[in-house]
């Protein structure tokens, strides 16, 4: 079954590349706006050979990791407070919903003014774009802990912080995971978006360079890299955790 899906997928991607090559060979579109798959591959090879591609990947991933880690930490703490104190939810909660609706690039001008052309500026944008998704999911998870778990835990002598760390957070784990997953997706958009505008190293910067040089192959090559990183993180990190959590929590 799984093998069949993989075969189907490989055939699909080969098909795309073949169609792409055919359209290119027909010469309908100028090479300046429509490169061949081979040109894109050459561009990737060139970037890999001079190391600029790996530097770009490493820079973007470091900003992603730093931003996402901070988002998860701050986002969870805020979510826990909102779930535990109704007055925090009534006040801060409404602001969180508002902030969550701000598109990530809308944070860039503020980050630029506050932090200048620094890593900190881009990480700030990453945090601002992803943190509130973590907060909202943490809040929902804590609010949806089955009352029987809490009753059982209190019955066995758990209280206060013990109740939060030993029962409520683990019980909320399926929600937390979807919060992290959403957070990561927002963070990745935030990093790339900020890098394009900041034009200060990273994959977003390389995209911008491609635009400035009128090099459509480089633009498409970097977009492919951004997509592949997305697929890998989703598939290798989140799908695995999700599957495990779903079966253990009896949700699958």
């Amino acid at each position: 079954m799984k093998g069949k899906v993989t075969t189907k997928r490989i055939a699909f991607y080969i098909g795309i590349i073949v169609v792409w090559q055919i359209v290119f060979s027909l010469n309908i579109l100028s090479q300046n706006i429509f490169p061949s798959p081979i040109q894109v591959a050459e561009d990737l090879a060139y970037g890999a050979a001079d190391g600029s591609l790996f530097l770009g990947i490493a820079t973007s991933l470091w900003r992603l990791t730093a931003g996402l880690a901070a988002s998860i930490a701050f986002g969870m703490i805020l979510g826990i407070f909102m779930a535990r104190k109704e007055s925090v939810n009534q006040t801060v909660g409404s602001l969180v919903l508002g902030l969550q609706s701000i598109p990530s690039v809308a944070w860039v001008p503020m980050a630029f003014l506050w932090f200048g052309l620094t890593d900190a500026g881009i990480i700030f944008v990453t945090i601002a774009s992803s943190m509130f998704a973590v907060t909202i999911n943490t809040y929902s998870g804590m609010k949806n802990v089955p009352t029987s778990y809490i009753a059982a835990a209190r019955n066995m002598g758990a209280s206060g912080i013990q109740l939060i760390t030993n029962v409520m957070l683990p019980a909320a784990f399926p929600y937390l995971i979807s919060g992290f997953k959403q957070g990561w997706a927002f963070a990745w958009r935030g990093v790339i978006g900020a890098e394009i505008i900041f034009s200060f190293l990273g994959l977003g910067f390389l995209l911008n360079v491609g635009r400035e040089l009128n090099d459509i192959s480089q633009v498409i090559a970097i977009m492919l890299v951004i997509m592949i990183i997305g697929i890998l993180i989703d598939g290798l990190v989140f799908k695995k955790i999700e599957r495990k959590v779903m079966s253990r929590w009896g949700l699958a």
Binding site: P146, N155, G157, F173, R248
Partner: protein, 259 residues
């Protein structure tokens, strides 16, 4: 010696905006080593009464005394086995069993020693490292019982723990619970809607009247143990209780019809 005493417990709850009297002055005295079953129609308030004893709900008035001292908060001296088990799916069986010990700050080695004893008693040793989703409903309730016993409570509270089990598993656990009771000499308060269950388990069976709940009558089941589900001699006890309960069930059906 009196282990637990409920003094004039009154409790109202909110039902569709109406203030309904749920418990209308419950008085109950449970002696050390007693096995008391509360039986009554479903929704009559017997689980509420148990939750009040556990400290999970507060009565509007009245007191619960454990060993002569008033209690108001939940505590591991009154551990409960819940109907749906309420096991933690993120923990292995052994960690579920050790949960209360961990909360009490007992060191790991000591926890392992204590939990081993109860895993053995409930025949769970083989499943110590399983997760709860890998267990049958019957196995889950064994874990729930082990998790409650491990705290060595003054009184064990059981809230319809066998209601969701298939008949064979239930009959098996009914016998095992009697053996555990004899072996550990625990005081047990067991809530059920099954008259058959109540006469198999209890040496006292307390019949709750329908809403508002009050104790209608108490029966003493003085019969050898372990009692088996198929023992025909228990039918006589069942009939006595059923006669008492029949009017209650009718009243409940009538009440629901009028709502």
């Amino acid at each position: 010696m009196t282990k637990l005493e409920a003094r004039n417990i009154v409790k109202h709850f909110d039902h569709n905006g109406n203030n309904v009297l749920a418990l209308d002055g419950i008085n109950l005295r449970i002696n050390e080593g007693d096995f008391v079953c509360i039986v009554g129609p479903s929704g009559c308030g017997k689980s509420t009464f148990l939750n009040i004893i556990a400290g999970l709900e507060k009565p509007d008035s009245g007191d619960i005394l454990l060993n002569g001292k008033t209690i108001t908060t939940p505590g591991p001296d009154r551990t409960m086995v819940f109907q749906e088990g309420a096991l933690f799916p993120w923990l292995k069986v052994i960690d579920n069993v050790e949960f209360g010990l961990k909360m009490a700050g007992i060191p790991k080695d000591e926890r392992a020693q204590i939990s081993q004893r109860y895993l053995d008693m409930m025949q769970l040793t083989k499943f110590a490292n399983s997760y709860t989703y890998q267990l049958s409903t019957g196995m889950k309730q064994r874990v729930a019982i082990a998790r409650a016993l491990v705290m060595d409570p003054e009184i064990l509270l059981m809230d319809e723990p066998f209601a969701a089990l298939d008949a064979q598993t239930r009959d098996l656990l009914l016998v095992e619970l009697q053996l555990i009771w004899e072996r550990t000499k625990k005081t047990i308060l067991f809530v059920t809607h099954s008259i058959a269950e109540s006469v198999i388990l209890g040496n006292r069976v307390v019949v709750f009247k329908n809403r508002p709940a009050k104790i209608k009558k108490e029966f003493v089941v003085d019969y050898r143990r372990p009692r088996l589900a198929e023992d025909q001699n228990l039918v006589k006890y069942q009939q006595d209780i059923l006669a008492e309960l029949r009017t209650e069930v009718k009243a409940q059906i009538k009440g629901e019809f009028e709502e």
